[in-house]
Amino acid sequence: MKQSIKKNQTQQSLADSIKAGLYKLWSFPGGIKLPGNKSQSNHQPITSAKTARQLVIPLNQHIGQAAEPVVQVGDKVLKGQVLGHAHGIISAPVHASGSGIVTAIEERPIPHPSGLSALCVVIDTDDYEQCVEYTPLIRENKVSEAQAGETRENSADEQSITALSNEQINSQIADAGIVGLGGALFPAAAKLHTAEKMHTDTLIINAAECEPYITCDDVLMRYRPEEVILGILLIKKVVGAKKCLIGIEDNKPEAYEALLSAISGYTHAHKTAQTEPQIEIIPVPARYPAGGEKQLIQVLTGKEVPSRGLPMDIGIICHNVATAAAVYQAVYRGEPLISRIVTITGGAVKVPQNMEVPIGTPIRDVLTQAGLNEEKIEKVIMGGPMMGFALPSIDIPVTKATNCLLISEKDELTTPPPAMPCIRCARCSDSCPMSLLPQQMYLYAKSRELDKLQEYNLFDCIECGCCSYACPSNIPLVQYYRYAKNEINNKTQERNKADLARKRHEFREERLEKAKLAKAEAARLRKEKLAKKKALDAEKAKQEEAKEASSDDKSDSTASEKSAANTTAANSADLIQEAIARAKIKKAQQQSQRKNTENLTEDQQNQIDEANERRSKNSQIE
């Protein structure tokens, strides 16, 4: 009862602030109202997972290149120690989330829609929980003790943030292996670096969390609002953004209030400094997918991210609240990203909750701790019910991407009946937040007209699932689009490969042609040299003869010189003739040899075949 009153009041204040015209909100087309299913898991504080016996830590938990392993099997590693360095510009390091011995570096199944395996570092943990020494950039304030002097402490916080250089903060973020925790998994440092360069003026913090069941951001904001706000201030500092908007769905009044009270100190400090408010928390109407990056930007600013472009192209950078909290931990505690908050929910879980789980912990361990009815499991979904994917087993690790584990029992989620023909009712296009025409794209995907699909802007599809949800014929539309996107990407890759091969071939041909010409030129020069030399020799001989003769008759010398020149010309002509004759003989020989192998008897052919076979086998063994 008390709760509901409080909730009403909060919602009232939310409504008031909207009414007061503080925030002008825009809207996005389409979208759907979904049952929230959030109350199961968001009513208790964040629990923490027990250390697992074995941690399986994938080296690629981000967009970009996998981290390069720097540990070896048998190494003893401490909690927080680097297991793999970032490899390339878009990459992130991976750290040990517990102390122990590296027992394997091998391919293990990871949570991925394709069900693929990937290179993982396997650590058998010890009981000591030994930790590397963290080096924070700012010494942490004890936030809890500072009730009365909050304003002062907060402004102290701010001063210490401004004292840091952007490079310092960003390299700390890079070293901590922070990636976008909202689901994109893009290395945060790379994104911030680009944003800084591109003079991004608006920082949008995504706190919408629009998918049903997921509450990990909700509880993070409720129970650790200061961390979120300080993380946001750090990000804002690096980016150099003039304003910061936090977009939060209006179904999370508790989180809104928590953020608001955490922020009030800063706002106060700023009012005295007579600057515009740094951070605005803006409630947005709860309508799926309001938390989609593009939709949130549209709702908060009225701007649209250009097709195939980035928010930075319109001066906006978007980060998730969980990423902000991770930035806080990296800067204030020096702690790398070795754990994350995971929502564990669904009918097959006895105590739905949010748990701070070390990366690499087997999902089975996490579920067991939350109380799992294994026989009740119907589906295991990582992520939400709209955009998540079904896991084939629970014996795979939690990664930086694991925001929610939805363990459904029978009839909790739907297994749609077989698809019926499309009746063109346009419910899909009416619900599409991108204003696409799913019904047309479906027809073209079905008939594999890939060009047409691109004409209908297939690649603008954000795979939010609204169309599939709205379809009365139960057509798995998003599945068709995923398939078509893959198909087109594969085709493009193949074409690129073929282009490369063709270019290589052409280059080789050209090179060979050049080499041939150069060889011919060299041969010609050699021949000329040879001819000249011979001519010179002949001349010398003639001169010697002439010398001998000159003693007899000096007046004859000019005539003899003339005849010498003649002989030289004759000589070189002879040489060329000879060379041609030699070449002809050689050619004839080669031809006759070839004829030898061509007119083989069957026995001889068999023998040769056998020999060849043996040779190839040998080479295989080698």
Partner: protein
Amino acid sequence: MFLAQSSPYLKPDLNVSKMMRVVTLLMVPGILTATYVFGYGVLVNILLAIVFALSFEAIILYLRKRPVRVYINDNSALLTAVIIGVALPPLAPWWLTFVGVFFAIVVAKQLYGGIGYNTFNPAMVAYAILLVSFPAQMTTYWQTPVMLLSHVDGQTLSLLETVQFQLFSQLPANVTMDALTFASPLSIVRTSVLSGAATIGEIDAQGNAFGVFGGIGTEWVNLAFLAGGLFMLRKGLISWHIPISLLAMLGFLSLLFGSFELDSNPSPLFHLFSGATMLGAFFIATDPVTAATTPRGRIFYGAGIGALIYIIRTWGGYPDAIAFSVLLMNMCVPLLDYYTQPRVYGHKADNDDQEQP
């Protein structure tokens, strides 16, 4: 291994079968009103149409080697049958319904590939073919509206007599066709005005065409269908685009031309509440399979039907025009859908031109 399937994993309890069933149920107020006004023939028509439609559908599905039960259960044949039943003249002989349903289900729907693949609205194909092939039965077998019985000294039939007439063409001894049937308000206006026999005012004075606000008798039927239609809008079963643009265009044109020549043009209310206007706007033009799908396309589609209804009613050869208007606009759907694609998020408005070949 747990159950694997692609997201989304949430799905509302919605399917084609349910949609069609609800739409059919929302026609009930209109059907009951029509029965009150035009007699039991309406119910007999609907019943016959349903029996014929389901039989044809089952046979063709069987011949096409499709799962009969699955597709029969989608209720689309049911809806088509009910629309045909309501649209046909209440005293239509059974074979008229039979031929109509045959063309709707077998030719216009199943031969085009079944549900979702037909280009033309099956019920309207049926109506148009019947109107062209059997004009006498289609135009004169309308029973005298109950409101006019005393005014024109008309006669009416009991349920049993209606069945007898429709199945065996047997009339009770004392009943004549002339006394039993009466021209519809639309055709009275149509013939009188076209031949110059009477002005609107004179027709009004005769008192057998204009009711309280629309066509006599039909105004109440239209009102009942409007109620069902508004409920569909409220429930989100149909979008507003088609019915609203259709009615707006029809109203606008009748207002426009009516304000020039009051003598030969009935009021917008008469156009909106006579004939099959409301049935057409909410239950026929909104057939998803054959209508335009883009938001702007649907507006053009609805407005096009509205305009054609007015044109054919006023200057064409038929008193009502829902069937021809819908069929003509069905033909335009691919074009409309192609040229009215919405601007996709993140694309510039003028990008559309580049993308069109």
